[in-house]
């Protein structure tokens, strides 16, 4: 059985364009919910023993400390506080107040589980660094694919394979950002350094997925009796099972992290799962169809 993927390219490309547009809109209206790594500020997690204070109790106890943008968020067995100040003085002042709160209850005690403070200059630096890293990945991928496919120049020039892979990648990034924009807006999920690592990994994964399809095209083209469109469709069909199986096995590993890896790593695993899903989708339904569309356009011009 052969799936008619290339023949239905208009449907898939329109769908992907719509999804990309929706992501852009989400980013435009809601933006991304950046965490302390990017915005600067503090994140303090404390655990209370023998006593679980309410959010208002904590807010009241911290009234004496001059804090900006204080957010108190209870978890299963701890409380997470976020505020704009990143100095050690603010940190100690908050801790002292919380200790006083614990001391006022019988047999209660408090432990500091983790503290993250990031100066705003570091946050800005991280943003530009992340942007550069993603840009470098893009450039290297175009160069690498053009080089790897240098022998295939008919009917589509080798650099166009690189550009098609990049279009798929841009789609992937937009999708992940869109999903996290929605998650950030409605569920308060934040974007921190690990998210960048996840995005970069997904880029690598998506490209290697795309390359495997292109590889099959490269192998089939010289000996193919069919036209370009059908050769590509056959190549996709020959690789589609492998693409799906690999993404399933990777996702299984990630699901284990999502459910058993603990709270700290959850968002990271989620970003990777979303990314691997969309990376697999784009290598099948975007990268190769773009090649065909491009080929048709050039033919028409001639």
């Amino acid at each position: 059985m052969i799936y008619r993927i290339i023949q239905k390219r208009k449907f898939f490309l329109t769908l992907s364009t719509l999804v990309a547009l929706a992501s852009i809109l989400a980013l435009f209206f809601w933006g991304l919910n950046f965490g302390v790594d990017f915005t600067g500020g503090s994140l303090l997690e404390v655990g209370f023993k023998n006593y679980q204070p309410t959010v208002t109790e904590i807010q009241d106890s911290l009234k004496g400390v001059d804090l900006h943008g204080l957010i108190v968020q209870p978890t299963n067995d701890s409380i997470i506080l976020r505020f704009k100040e990143s100095t050690e003085e603010a940190h100690q002042a908050v801790l002292t107040k919380l200790q006083e709160l614990a001391a006022s209850k019988t047999a209660a005690s408090i432990t500091e589980l983790q503290f993250d403070a990031v100066g705003s200059s570091i946050g800005k630096e991280l943003k530009s660094k992340s942007f550069n890293a993603i840009a470098i990945v893009f450039v290297m991928i175009i160069i690498y694919i053009s080089w790897a496919f240098k022998k295939v120049s008919k009917p589509v020039a080798s650099w166009k394979y690189g550009v098609a892979a990049i279009i798929a990648l841009i789609h992937d990034i937009l999708f992940i950002l869109g999903v996290f924009s929605v998650l950030g807006h409605f569920y308060g999920i934040e974007i921190n350094t690990p998210f960048i690592a996840a995005v970069l990994t997904v880029l690598g994964y998506s490209v290697s997925d795309t390359i495997i399809v292109f590889d099959r095209i490269r192998e089939n083209l010289p000996k193919s009796q069919e036209d370009f469109e059908n050769t590509i469709n056959r190549s996709i069909n020959q690789t589609i099972v492998r693409s799906i199986i690999t993404s399933v096995s990777s996702t299984l590993a990630l699901i284990a992290i999502l459910f058993f890896g603990g709270d700290t790593i959850k968002d990271f695993a989620l970003a990777l799962i979303v990314g691997i899903f969309v990376g697999t989708y784009s290598s099948i339904f975007i990268a190769s169809p773009v090649l065909v569309v491009w080929d048709n356009l050039t033919r028409r011009q001639k």
């Binding site: 997690e45 991928i141 290697s208 690999t246 590993a253």
Partner: protein
């Protein structure tokens, strides 16, 4: 040569058995390296159960290098103000800041403090201190930030009235306003300081001894300030302002401030622990409590085992016999990666990498797809692996996640090979032929796909923050080892186990016979 000749005369099958024997030895080595503590425990139990009749030799346990988020600790980033230092000397000054902080941190009994100098993109100098497993973070921050900056200043403008005390030393009240200007002499040039007592009145003094460069500077400063005061500033306050009577050579000076013995001793201690040549401020910190870290380790272990189990079940259900073989090679893969995470002794790292690379070359040679480019590519990967095998890889939470993810991705090469093998089987080829052709055909895809991921890993490794670097490094090691496990281990197992007996049982390979006949 005769050995190699004899070997090449053996049948494909018996050669594969020899390779398998090497793989088994390899697996035992990486297994004992990765799980030395588990093995040792088992040896002890066995000895206890058999009343000390069976005593197996125990192995040396090498530790994993856990990151801050897994063992608890602090990651501190300081920004250094180098505005007062000439651009050319800044790097050197930062090195001495690092040494001083290292000394201060060592006093806290941190096992392996990591203190690094880092220059940001905007040209700002930073000190990054990683204190793994530290108990009292608050105290550590206080001690590091405690900055005895020792400066020697000379007068910028007119002389002011000076008080002369009993010992004849000019002492200036700190409140008196004088325009002081910095000299080049700072605490950086201090070799040693000690408490001594003034021979005239027995009052405590702090003596300073400069290094060669400092002595020369001191000589110049005293030479041009004869008859004028020179101020010794500590942390921005003048602690002593002696009048210079003559040029002082030999690099000895003393501070005769108005302090008692205790204060003098404390000052000496602070000066000896090192005066920071430049002021620093804490701009970022990340601290994790040890209990949270050990919870994360438990979670990661469970996640890793569940991940491995899920992937294994999936592979066996979907690919049957080849799936089972790939799970075996996945186990060797996991042990190898874990072994490389540890800091291995040179001989062990060398043995492992040489075995891996030569088996890869051997398999390529068997498949007749060996060429210079491939040899070059794998030589580079081998070198990098060797480097990482020697170095301890810091396992952070995201690094562990990278490892678990790599379990899922590691089977990709196997999947590519199986899909190809199935296609060849469906085309009516014999099992042996289909396996060989499946490997050959799948190789270009495996190569190109993995190179692009390795490129991404390299970018991750060079991308500043340590958490991201750790993730990139573990992913790279995972991919490099997965190439070995797919090319060598899966292939060898295939050759040894898959054979003519399977011709009538192709359902074990996930291909029904009717499909073959239809073709």
């Amino acid at each position: 040569m005769s050995l190699i000749q004899k070997f090449s005369k053996l049948s494909v099958w018996s050669r594969a058995w020899w390779v398998l024997a090497i793989i088994v030895v390899f697996t035992v080595i990486v297994g004992l390296t990765a799980g030395g503590n588990v093995y040792n425990k088992w040896v002890k139990k066995l000895a206890a159960k058999t009343n000390d009749i069976v005593i197996l030799p125990s192995v040396k346990e090498l530790p994993y290098n856990l990151g801050l988020d897994l063992q608890g600790g602090a990651h501190l980033v300081y920004s250094a103000d180098v505005s007062t230092i000439a651009a050319a000397d800044r790097a050197e000054a930062m090195e001495s800041v690092r040494d001083v902080i290292e000394r201060r941190v060592n006093a806290f009994g941190v096992s392996e403090p990591l203190v690094q100098v880092n220059k940001s993109a905007s040209g700002e100098y930073r000190i990054i201190a990683e204190l793994a497993g530290i108990k009292d973070i608050k105290e550590a921050i206080k001690t590091i930030g405690d900055t005895p900056i020792l400066e020697f200043k000379e007068q910028a403008t007119t002389t002011q009235a000076l008080q002369v005390d009993a010992s004849g030393t000019a002492v200036l009240d700190a409140s008196a306003a004088i325009n002081w200007k910095n000299t080049e002499l700072t605490g950086k040039y201090l070799k040693r300081s000690s408490v001594q007592f003034n021979p005239n009145d027995g009052s405590p003094e702090v003596s300073l001894e400069f290094d060669a460069a400092g002595a020369k500077l001191f000589e110049e400063i005293t030479a041009r300030n004869i008859g004028k005061p020179v101020a010794i500033f500590l942390d921005g306050y003048a602690i002593s302002v002696p009048n210079v009577n003559e040029k002082i050579t030999g690099g000895q000076a003393s501070i005769s401030g108005r302090f008692n013995v205790e204060e003098a001793k404390l000052l000496v201690k602070r000066l000896n622990s090192g005066a920071l040549p430049v002021p620093i401020t804490l701009i970022s910190q990340k601290t994790v409590e040890a209990s949270l870290g050990s919870k994360s380790i438990d979670n990661s272990m469970v996640a890793g085992l569940v991940g491995l189990l899920l992937v294994s079940i999936f592979m066996i259900v979907y690919y049957r016999l080849p799936g089972l073989l790939s799970v075996l090679s996945l186990l060797v893969y996991g042990l190898t990666v874990l072994a490389i995470f540890k800091a291995l002794p040179v001989w062990l790292a060398l043995v492992l990498v040489v075995i891996m690379i030569s088996l890869v070359f051997y398999t390529f040679n068997e498949l007749k797809i060996f060429n210079g480019t491939l040899a070059f590519l794998f030589a580079i990967i081998g070198l990098l692996l060797f480097f990482y095998a020697l170095k301890p890889i810091t396992l952070s939470l995201s690094g562990v996640a990278g490892f678990i993810l790599s379990i899922g991705i590691a089977v990709d090469a196997n999947i590519l090979i199986f899909s190809r093998t199935r296609e060849e089987l469906k085309a009516g080829k014999s099992v042996r032929q289909a396996v060989d052709d499946g490997f050959k055909r799948a190789w270009p895809s495996i190569r190109d796909g993995n190179i692009s991921t390795i490129l991404t890993c390299l970018i991750l490794m060079f991308f500043g923050t340590s958490a991201v670097q750790g993730f990139g490094t573990t992913l790279f090691i995972g991919i490099a080892v997965s190439l070995f496990s797919a090319i060598v281990i899966t292939h060898t197992l295939f050759v040894v186990i898959l054979g003519d007996w399977l011709e009538k049982r192709t359902w074990l390979l996930g291909v029904s016979r009717s499909k073959i006949e239809n073709k």
